[in-house]
Every structure is written in C-alpha cells, then in structure tokens.
C-alpha cells in the first residue's frame, strides 16, 4: 500500500540504506520507545540545560515554527492526497493549456487560489507532477502559491498602511519570478534532476488505503524536513543579533542582498513576513520588497522540504536559481512601482 516509490538512497539527508526486512522490522518501534523512555527519565537535566535564555528562545522559536507550520502542512497533504486519489490526470490535461509555455503562467496565476503558506504548496506541487502536470507548470505554482494568495496579500496591505503600492509590487514581482522559473525549467530543466515520481502506485488498492497512505507518506517525509528547517531557523533567530542589520541598511545594494538573505535564513511563514518587513524600517522599500518576494520562494525550511519531496539534486539547483532571479526582479519591480 505504499504510495510513492521514492528510491531510498536519494534526497533524504540520511536516508535508510537498502532494506533489511528482518532486522529493522522490530527495531524502529523499539528505538522509538527507548528514545521516549530516556527522554522522560532525563527530563530534569534536559530542562536545566534548556534553562539558559538562548536555549529557551531557541526552543520556543523551534516549537513555534513547527506548531505553526504543521496545520498548513497537513492541509497541503490532504489536498495533495485528494489530487492524487480522486482527481483523474485527464482533468489537468483539460484545465491547463497543452503548450507547456502557456501552462506556466496559467499555473502561476492559479497559485492565487491556494490559501496558506509555503508548507502547503510543496506537497501539492509534488502531487501535481505525479498527476502528469508538466513540471514547469507545477513549479510555477509552487513558487507563486504562497506569495500571491488573497490572505498573504491582505496581510501585506495591513502591514504597510502607508505604502499600499507594496501589494501590487509583491504580486507582480512574485508572479514574474514564478513564471520566469517555469520557463527557465522548460529550457534548461532536466527531468532526471527530479526524483522520479511514482507511477500510479494506487492501482490495485482501495481508495481509502491510497488516500491515507498518501497522507502518512507525505507527513512523515515533508514533516521530517520541516523539523530540520525549523531547527535552522530557530538557531538563526536565537543567535544572530538584529543589530548586525543596521550596518547593512546604509548601502542600498548591500541592503537588498542582506534582506534577501535574511528572508532565506528566517524562514517566516508567508502570511506573517509582511509584518516583519514592515518593522525593518531602516531599510528601503525595495529591499523590503526583496524580502517579501524571496521569503515565500526560497528559505531554509522550504529548501529542506523541497529536497525531501523532489530530491536533493533538484533543490540544490532550483533554490539558488530562484534566489538569483528573485533579487533582480524585486529590484526592477521596486524601481518601477515603488
């Protein structure tokens, strides 16, 4: 009843080696119980160790990122399972233009209907590719969905009451980057960078088994990487002082790059990043636009999840290319609209 047949040696940072049916079978529940018992026994020392302010802040931010992202991940996972099980591939063939170059902007614009943040869009984009949607279009959807949906745009408008032009600027720049990345994938992308999607592994199973199998697989997979990303984001939030940013704000070029990098490192949910951008008052509007455009497309949490869903080969090429494209597009959009 497995759902996708991802080769176990690819992508995952420490993926399981070749299967050892007899030995491992009993192992993992045993390991889990051992870990839980040890943690309960050692909770006194663990609490003391986490008592220092740095560690406390780290733990709080870590838990907050996970607790905040999990509901959206579950939402995306449910949607992705529904697409995989209940929507026939022929639907997408009819809904999207046949020519991939046209399908890209249509899929990018369709991102506006998925309300949520980037955690939801990764499993959905994965399901779209498995359902036969051309990868270029699915990737345009992946990039645009967290940035251009109504919830995020409303939050942006609320966060920038004095600069309503931030909303169209964010919309335009995000759509441009999403479509450009889709077209770039059409020209340069190679399918062997993508972890081979499972063929219709639902055949021969009941729909219920296939649906829940898909949910289980996606949560275990993307969830593990989500935790990895949350660890990285919490470390940066707790350790790097914000005062470093002040020196960066003085030079316009450095300011844009600094905020773009900050967006990658902080991995804030796209529904909330506008408020953080609004408080970075020492930076130019263009630099803050770069923060808003880069954040939902490239960040540590997202990178980890992309590596988990599409494979590391893919993520290592896709994320830097997106970053390299998002920064100049933000600057150009900022120059025109802000």
């Amino acid at each position: 009843m497995a759902v996708t047949k991802s080769p176990p040696t690819q992508g995952a940072a420490s993926s399981a080696g070749p299967e050892e049916p007899q030995g491992r079978r009993l192992d993992s529940p045993l390991v889990l119980i051992t870990v839980l018992v040890l943690a309960v026994l050692a909770q006194g020392p663990i609490r003391r160790m986490l008592g220092a302010p740095v560690m406390q802040t780290w733990t709080t931010v870590f838990v907050a990122v996970v607790v905040q992202a999990l509901p959206f991940l579950v939402l995306g996972v449910l949607l992705s399972a529904a697409i995989a099980v209940f929507v026939p591939p022929s639907f997408f063939a009819r809904a999207l233009p046949g020519r991939p170059a046209l399908a890209v902007p249509v899929a990018g614009a369709a991102g506006a209907v998925l309300p949520g943040c980037e955690c939801a869009s990764v499993p959905v984009a994965g399901a779209l590719i498995r359902r036969g949607v051309t990868p270029a279009a699915a990737l345009a959807f992946l990039l645009s969905a967290p940035a251009v949906n109504p919830i995020v745009l409303t939050a942006t408008a609320v966060a920038f009451p004095d600069n309503p032009e931030m909303v169209p600027a964010r919309l335009v720049a995000s759509l441009l980057v999403a479509c450009a990345m889709g077209w770039l994938w059409l020209r340069l992308g190679r399918t062997d960078w993508l972890r081979p999607p499972a063929r219709s592994s639902y055949d021969g199973q009941g729909r219920g088994a296939a649906f829940w199998g898909s949910v289980r697989h996606d949560v275990m997979h993307a969830g593990g990487f989500l935790v990895l990303g949350a660890i990285a984001a919490a470390t940066l939030k707790a350790v790097v002082p914000e005062t470093w940013l002040r020196t960066a704000a003085d030079n316009p070029v450095v300011a844009v790059l600094a905020l773009a990098a900050l967006a990658v490192l902080l991995s804030i949910c796209s529904e909330a990043d506008a408020f953080v951008a609004a408080s970075l008052t020492q930076f130019s509007l263009t630099a803050r636009l770069a923060f808003l455009v880069v954040g939902p497309m490239v960040d540590l949490k997202l990178f980890a999840m992309q590596a988990g869903t599409f494979g590391r080969d893919f993520a290592l090429r896709f994320a830097p290319a997106t970053f390299a494209l998002a920064v100049p597009v933000s600057v150009l959009t900022g120059a025109v609209l802000l």
């Binding site: 009843m1 299967e19 529940p29 889990l32 802040t57 709080t60 607790v67 905040q68 829940w212 593990g224």
Partner: protein, 234 residues
C-alpha cells in the same frame, strides 16, 4: 522507520497538537486564531495513525517493505519539546535583541473620560508617540507587560506582538521612569500605574521610538493567558 513506528509517531504528534490546542499551551507559540486548524490537523494526524495500523493489520499491500527515510525520526523532536519542556513564551532575551515594532496606528478610539485608565501597552506607546499623549495627559494609567533591561540598564516594560507565530514576534517597548522598584528581575510581569511623560528615547537596535511612562506604582502580576499582544492581527 517501519509502519508501526510511523503510526506511533503520527499518533504522538497528533495527540501533542490536540494537547497544545485544548489547553492554553498553544498561545505561547502561535496566534489564537490558529486553534481550529491546530485541532483539525491533530485529529487528521491521529486518523492517519489509526488508518495506518488498520490497513497494516488487514495485510501488507503491494510494497510492504517500503520505509520512510530516517529524517522522519526528527518528528519526535517537537513532540518531546512540547510535552517535556513546553518552553515559555518569548521574553526579555529576544525583546532586547529585537527592535521595537511600534507603528503609527490608523486612528485613536475615544477613551473613557474618568477613572484610572487600563490600556494595552502597545496602545499606550502608540498614543504617546504618535498622538503626543494628547488623550493621556493628567490621568492615572495602568499598563501590563514584562520587564526587560537594556544593555546599559534602562528598564523597559515590554509586550511582544505576534502576527502568526513566535518566530515573527516583535516587542513594543515602553521605558520606565519615576518610582521604579529597586530590584527589577527581567521577565517578571508587572502592572504599572503611572502617568504620561513626554520623555522619549530611540531603540538602540532599530532606532524606533520608545516612549516612557512615569511610574507611581508597580505591582507584580501573573503572566496573562495570552502572553502576546495580538491586537494587530484583527
């Protein structure tokens, strides 16, 4: 990780989310509005765990040997962190390292005419800085927040504002002057009674404006149910 272990992790994760959502624990980490989604996703995770066990018992499917990568084990970390440690809401450490997030409010609602006035800390700061304290003069005011000490020792009363989760939480700071208690322990929650003063300073982190309040009395209080100020959410 085999199916049983996956089911166990899914179940624990779902139960943890339900536990956080059914108590006030979740308010330390995320906005109050996320509660329905949190409970829903907890229920879905538990359902997925039960379904996994159910279909596993009915006999292995076509790919019985398939396992998830070891990175899935990391899902046990938030479970342990939430159940065993349950870290507190963000406090003075992050407040001092982050610049004040005070922004000009859209407008000011009319305040009641008489009596001591209880204000949200961010509301006081907004009126003090952007309305020059017009509505606050010659009145007894009460604001609540936790204590944070700046590197040079300036005492602030702080409330963290939150838009989505603690990762985006930002402080609003009000400086304390006047009859300050002789010993100020960072992270203690205080209800400060005082009056408006025109004194201001700039946040050393981001140059944001920080108003002051002339303290007449400071009383330790319990941490509020929702430690974050979420007024800007609505």
């Amino acid at each position: 990780m085999n199916r049983q272990a996956q089911a166990a992790v899914l179940f624990l994760l779902g139960a943890t989310l339900l536990h956080a959502g059914l108590t006030d624990l979740y308010l330390r980490y995320v906005k109050a509005g996320l509660r329905p989604l949190l409970l829903l996703s907890g229920a879905v995770l538990i359902a997925a765990a039960l379904a996994t066990v159910w279909y596993e018992r009915r006999g292995p499917g076509g790919h019985a040997g398939h396992r998830e990568p070891r990175v899935s084990w990391l899902l046990a970390v938030p479970v342990l962190a939430l159940i065993l440690v349950a870290p507190p809401a963000l406090g003075s450490y992050s407040a001092v390292r982050t610049g004040t997030a005070l922004q000009e409010p859209y407008g000011f609602t009319k305040l009641p005419e008489s009596g001591p006035l209880r204000l949200a800390l961010a509301d006081y700061a907004g009126r003090a800085v952007y309305d020059d304290g017009r509505s606050l003069r010659d009145r007894q005011l009460k604001i609540t927040g936790f204590v944070a000490l700046d590197r040079d020792g300036t005492p602030y009363l702080v409330r963290m504002t939150l838009n989505c989760c603690a990762a985006d939480a930002q402080p609003v700071k009000v400086g304390l002057t006047g009859h300050i208690p002789p010993v100020l322990q960072p992270d203690t929650w205080l209800e400060v009674t005082g009056t408006y003063t025109a004194r201001r300073t700039h946040d050393p982190v981001n140059d944001g404006p920080i108003p002051f309040i002339e303290v007449t009395e400071a009383r330790p209080v319990a941490e509020p149910r929702d430690p974050y100020d979420e007024t800007w959410n609505s």
